[in-house]
């Protein structure tokens, strides 16, 4: 009876409302010169579905096809986001599904479509798995409230070590984030993330955690993308507590700035800095300093070419430099 009622409810939603669905894709192709060798590589092919089921209920799906050595076909399919959103009042929504954890500006703003990225790749905060990129769970969010355009997110999820199907422990991750946009194109944000990560949890790169870690992440960001000038800086302070090593403090940050010489040409620089505590057991402790300088050429809003030089110095793996070119499109 309950199943019938649910089916009837869904039928009514879809039948009485002209469903509006948009499908869009993004892809990028890269050329890399490193260690006196030139390589071509395919980036991620990102497929989006956005659908309005009725005037309060919407769906967003993001599926990525990407290179993976672990796959027999050398390509994997991953579901990056499934977000069901219910607009219950004004600018306030309930969200359910798999989300980009709203921990900072980059993760909340950019998806896997490189055409929107200001640089070719993500900052080291992401590459080092310093922050949890995704959270599967339930949340509430509000946006553009009041004159300062205040926005908030409160998200409870399965947490680190879990997968999209089941939680690996009883603890839930909690993300609380807030931001304001006092003028157009300027956004200040801050967030707090807490999770109890169980011993035995599989974390980044398949590494298995040996002791339980209580993780707290404090993040802050400033973003300005104006007509002439672009600026984005974010930092995260991580405190990981375990019985064996006590509280360990690590920090990761980056700063990006670009100048629009012309509507189509944007030279830019990005500086990344990662500093891990010596007794840290959760992170890889591969301290890093990275400098990127590049040029972005905007063919149009669906096609962008970038050329970048990156110098990176790592505590464990030494220094590297590379030149990368990328063509990113939306289709």
């Amino acid at each position: 009876m309950k199943k019938f009622a649910l089916l009837f409810f869904l039928f009514c939603i879809l039948h009485t409302y002209g469903q509006n669905t948009t499908i869009k894709g993004f892809v990028d192709v890269n050329t890399l010169y490193q260690d006196k060798k030139l390589s071509f590589n395919l980036g991620e092919q990102d497929l989006f579905i956005n659908s309005e089921l009725n005037d309060r209920f919407t769906f967003l799906g993001e599926t990525v096809f990407k290179f993976s050595l672990q796959s027999p076909t050398t390509f994997d399919i991953s579901i990056e986001r499934i977000v069901m959103k219910y607009n219950f009042s004004g600018n306030h929504n309930i969200v359910l599904g798999k989300h980009h954890t709203p921990i900072n500006y980059w993760n909340d703003t950019y998806h896997h479509g490189r055409v929107f990225f200001p640089t070719i790749g993500r900052p080291l905060l992401f590459e080092d798995n310093f922050i949890p990129l995704h959270t599967t769970g339930l949340g509430i969010q509000g946006q553009n409230l009041g004159d300062s355009r205040f926005g908030y997110d409160v998200l409870i999820g399965n947490g680190i070590g879990s997968n999209d199907f089941t939680d690996n422990d009883k603890a839930k991750s909690v993300t609380v984030a807030a931001h304001i946009k006092p003028i157009d194109n300027l956004r200040f944000g801050a967030s707090f993330y807490h999770d109890d990560i169980s011993a035995g949890a599989k974390i980044h790169d398949g590494h298995v955690l040996t002791h339980e870690v209580k993780q707290q992440l404090y993040s802050a960001s400033v973003a300005y993308f104006g007509k002439k000038f672009e600026f984005l800086t974010e930092g995260t302070f991580a405190r990981n507590n375990s019985d064996s090593t006590g509280g360990q403090n690590s920090i990761g940050m980056y700063a990006y700035t670009g100048v629009k010489l012309h509507e189509k040409f944007v030279p830019y620089v990005r500086f990344d800095f990662m500093d891990y505590a010596e007794e840290e057991i959760y992170f890889n402790k591969n301290d890093a300093v990275s400098i990127i300088t590049g040029l972005r050429y905007v063919i149009n809003y669906l096609a962008v070419v970038k050329l970048e030089y990156q110098y990176q110095d790592r505590k464990l793996t030494g220094s590297t430099s590379k030149v990368t070119a990328q063509v990113a499109i939306g289709f």
Binding site: N20, T22, K24, F48, N50, E52, D55, R56, T58, L60, E62, R81, V83, K85, N87, S89, G90, N91, V95, D108, T109, H111, G113, F116, Q143, N144, R149, K227, E263, V298, N300, Y301, L302, G330
Partner: protein, 132 residues
């Protein structure tokens, strides 16, 4: 070509709405906020639907400049980003003012910008003016 562009930028714009949802008068700052997708609902709870001229039409070009202070490319990118961030629904774009006005007349909560006088739709005055 230059004269065509200047003419396109100078087109007078009229804000029109469905009789349900939108107020009859708005401040320009409120209008801009609504048209940037920053408000999801009108005070009576009706969902806001935005209707615009396509950015490659003369009317669309005027809207980009006068309302959004963006180029056509910037406006298209703005909406694409917003939609796929999961933070808003894109406007409905039209080739002609008559199509846009017909859509607004049929859609509760709809608001849009037209280059004609508004036809059968309700005109919303902005800062006390009928045209922008």
């Amino acid at each position: 070509m230059v004269s065509v562009l200047v003419h396109a930028q100078d087109l007078p714009l009229t804000v029109v709405s469905n009789s349900k949802g939108a107020p009859e008068e708005m401040k320009f700052t409120s209008l801009k906020s609504v048209l940037r997708g920053e408000k999801l609902r009108w005070p009576d709870g009706t969902k806001i639907t935005i209707a615009l001229m396509k950015t490659n039409t003369p009317g669309g070009s005027s809207i980009c400049r006068k309302i959004y202070n963006m180029s056509a490319d910037e406006l298209n990118k703005y909406w694409l980003a917003l939609v796929f961030q999961g933070k808003g629904q894109a406007p409905v774009f039209f080739n002609s003012a008559s199509e846009l006005e017909a859509f607004i007349a049929q859609t509760p909560g709809a608001i849009g910008i037209t280059t004609s006088t508004g036809g059968n739709t309700r005109t919303v005055s902005v800062d006390g003016k009928k045209t922008l």
